[in-house]
Amino acid sequence: MKIPLEGVERAITKLWEEEATKSSAPRLELMTVVALVSDARLLDRAKKAVNDLVCAQAARTIVAVSLPGGEAEITAEAALHRRSPDSPARGDAIVLEATGAGREWLPENVDRLALPDLPVCIWWVGDLPDHDDLFDRLLGIADIVVVNSCEMDLRDLEKLDGLVSRSRDRFALSDLTWIRLRPLQELIARFFDDEAATACLSSLSRVHVTFTPRENEQDAASTQAGLLFGWIVHVLGLPTDPAGVRWHRESTWSEASLGGIVFRFDREDRPEVPCGSLLGVHFECESARFAIERQKDDPDAFRWSREVPGVAAPPQTFRVAIHDESTLLIRCLERPKHDRLLEASLRAGSRAVRPVAPRLSSRPGAG
């Protein structure tokens, strides 16, 4: 039921009082999570994700959606999150619907409804526009900003890097696609856990990344592949100035050459795997080979193998579940903090892909 904005706190208090008569669930909240929904079609998805999140981490959630047209107004709905209709309450669920110019009023009203003295997480649901005044104003109250770069183009890595620069440490940027990448980074790091393998890095000549592209995507790599690229470039300290990065593109693959290492990005359609995901990563050194490969018959499983002279290491299979958006959001907010590795990888990745994925505004002739 829609209620006026000024009635939200009262309605929430009343719901908790009613809850106290039914269950002993304490009212405990760790943060306010604001999901900004720019497209009404994403509303249900956002509501589901924040409900799942609150089942794992008690929080107040505000899902804010703006609808074009209509009278300038914001209306609200207030409820409590639950795992199931009969389970105890877990947190406050607020939905704000702004119509017409009411969209402009969302930041101050979100601020007013945020829980006092607790972190505020702003999650932009969907593709992040190049310039959005509403988003920019909400950054002012954010402690954590969550995006999902898999819904963006490769060129948007530069936009996210810009966001980090603008944050000046006032908020931490988190990316659900980066969260998805973390287990694969662990598997890659596992290649080099002994000295013999680490020594091979000095002769690294080729890194081969296979990914599944988004529909109709023409980018040289998916954003996840771009983030991986940025991470490796950052870890190895490779040069990313435009003069030092040479790209070669074909219809199904691209190659970048920097610091004497060739990075090849291959597209491969795998309908059972989410778009943009990685399918395999191979490192080739002078006398050593390292590989992780997503299994054909089980897309959640990766085969890990390496051949290093003088070092025995049997191949292993690891479960790397393809988490849905809700799980990624939970993982992302488990230990919210400034992720310097993401920031450095974004910086390196956005610079290294700039020759093949320039920002629209900087394209020659762009208005």
Binding site: R90, E186, I188, D193, E195, T198, A301, A312, T317
Partner: protein
């Protein structure tokens, strides 16, 4: 050479690959706890590359039979179900079995051969972790044979490591504990020994340290100036569950108090360590045990209570008394309940009584530490100090300080893990009526889901070589040094009347008298 790809990742360190050898692999602990914990670590991608697990026990079994038996254990006892076939297949391929008597050195030669073969195949490079899931009486022969077979690396050897994990009981009194430690030290250096007390692997026990030393508001109050007394309860609602033979040798004092309960006391009462490194933490813990005022002579009867459950009911079902349990003597005088009043003689806690109780077949399963703060020093809310209307004054319910319920901070270890603070608040209305209210933090409500099992955390720490959450030799000795005189005193004076509490109650009447003599009461749990 440092692995540059680890920098900034959640697992910044990697543990070296090793062969994990379980002595007593056909037993219940292996099937219920150890293999499910190792499997869950594999599922979380936390086991090092190439790690193998070798079971060593008497029954004849092939690798395949051992794997099948362990699979049943995982299916039944793993916290994550159902079994992940892909991960299990990979995990099972690294499970091996060696059968034979521990007394026969030839079996250790075979074990060595098997381990060296695994080294060559999996790159485990001579690194070993031995888990003794066997009775302490067998430790010496296993240690000797490991040593003779060349299966123990020098602790100074930079190329390979050997660690040994030992399960409680660490002896049955001071003399046997010291003998056990001496025996372990014949073969292993102290830094190679990991004495496991699964209580320390519990998230909530670790959270006591976080609560005390991660918050600035509690520590200034954590002393004799503000604390009236402490209570620690480790209550189980189950009986001896088929372990009558073991329990007849142990009792509640040895099974629970000497280890779990004293561990809780140590983390509650210890001074802030300089850093959270293994020896700094363990140094502070052992100081608490050293400061415990010995209970000897007539104090044993005055400050300790022992009990044994008789028949009763649990949740409306009749249950047998201890003496009716299988493998228990019908005249047994073994304690299934202990309550004690302790004092820690140090600057922080001098004069603060610490009441502890532990037992089986108590009314509820609950482990809790509660810090009971002192009464307010002055009844500021009493009528003379307030300029209120006569009507209002007549309604005042608080007339002196001792009638205001003191504040209590309760740390719940299990179940419903969390922290609660009880304080008083004014009941809405014209009268100044105060009522105790609680603020509750519950892990499940805030963080949801279940964290790793204690064994997962502890095995992982052993793989990393981090002994912070394991008991050190001097800690074990100090605990026994305190407990042994009480056990000896009890042995001299058999209990007057056992059983002395009915199953399903909170223990014998004397346990209540112990605390009530000082005008205090056990918390209702």
């Amino acid at each position: 050479m440092v692995n540059p790809f680890r920098a900034g990742l959640e697992t910044e360190r990697a543990c070296l690959p090793a062969v994990f050898v379980i002595f007593g692999a056909s037993g219940d602990l292996t099937r219920r706890k150890l293999i499910p914990a190792l499997y869950n670590l594999a599922l979380s991608r936390l086991l090092p590359t190439g790690m193998s697990i070798v079971g060593f026990a008497l029954p004849e079994m092939t690798d395949e039979q051992f794997r099948a038996s362990m699979r049943e254990g995982v299916a039944q006892f793993s916290r994550r179900k159902p079994i992940d076939e892909v991960v299990w297949e990979d995990f099972a391929s690294r499970l091996h079995y060696v059968s034979g008597k521990f007394e026969d050195p030839a079996n250790f030669a075979r074990l060595r051969e098997a381990l060296e073969q695994l080294d060559r195949k999996n790159g485990t490079r001579g690194n070993r972790i031995y888990y003794l899931a066997i009775p302490p009486s067998v430790f010496p022969v296993v240690n000797d044979n490991l040593s003779k077979a060349g299966l123990v690396a020098d602790p100074e050897d930079g190329n390979r490591y050997t660690r040994i994990i030992v399960e409680k009981p660490f002896g049955r009194d001071l003399a046997t504990a010291q003998a056990l430690n001496a025996d372990l030290h014949r073969v292993f250096a102290e830094e190679q020994i990991f004495r496991i007390d699964h209580y320390l692997g519990k998230e909530t026990v670790q959270n006591i340290v976080a609560l005390r030393f991660g918050n600035a508001i509690f520590e200034p109050l954590w002393n004799r100036n503000h604390i009236d007394h402490l209570q620690i309860t480790v209550a189980e609602d189950i009986g001896v569950e088929g372990r009558g033979k073991f329990y007849e040798e142990a009792g509640a004092m040895r099974d629970i108090v000497q280890n779990h309960l004293l561990q809780l006391l140590m983390v509650t009462a210890m001074e802030p360590p300089v850093s959270f490194t293994a020896d700094e933490v363990r140094d502070e813990k052992v100081k608490v045990l050293r400061a415990l005022r010995p209970i000897v002579g007539p104090d044993i009867a005055k400050l300790t209570v022992r009990g044994q459950y008789g028949p009763g009911n649990m949740a409306g079902h009749a249950v047998a008394g201890y003496r009716q349990e299988p493998n228990v003597s019908p005249e047994s005088n073994m304690d299934t309940f202990v309550a004690m009043q302790l004092e820690v003689d140090n600057w922080r806690f001098a004069g603060v009584p610490i009441f502890v109780r532990a037992g089986k077949r108590l009314a509820r399963r609950v482990t809790e530490i509660s810090i009971h703060f002192k009464h307010v020093p002055h009844a500021v809310l009493a009528p003379p100090s307030m300029s209120l209307s006569p009507t209002f004054q007549a309604d005042l319910r608080v007339e002196d300080a001792s009638r205001v319920d003191p504040d209590v901070l309760a740390i719940r270890i299990q179940p419903d893990e969390g922290i609660g603070l009880r304080f008083v608040a004014k009941v809405p209305g014209p009268s100044m009526t105060l009522r105790p209210v609680t603020m509750d933090f519950r892990y499940g409500s805030v963080f949801g889901g279940s964290g790793p099992e204690a064994y997962e955390r502890l095995i992982l720490d052993a793989l990393f070589g981090d002994p912070t959450l394991f008991a050190r030799a001097d800690e074990v000795s100090a605990a026994w040094r305190f407990i042994t005189p009480i056990l000896q005193g009890w042995a001299k004076e058999p209990p007057e009347k056992f059983p002395n509490y009915a199953a399903g109650t909170w223990g014998p009447r004397r346990a209540f008298d112990l605390i009530e003599a000082g005008g205090r009461a056990w918390r209702r749990l």
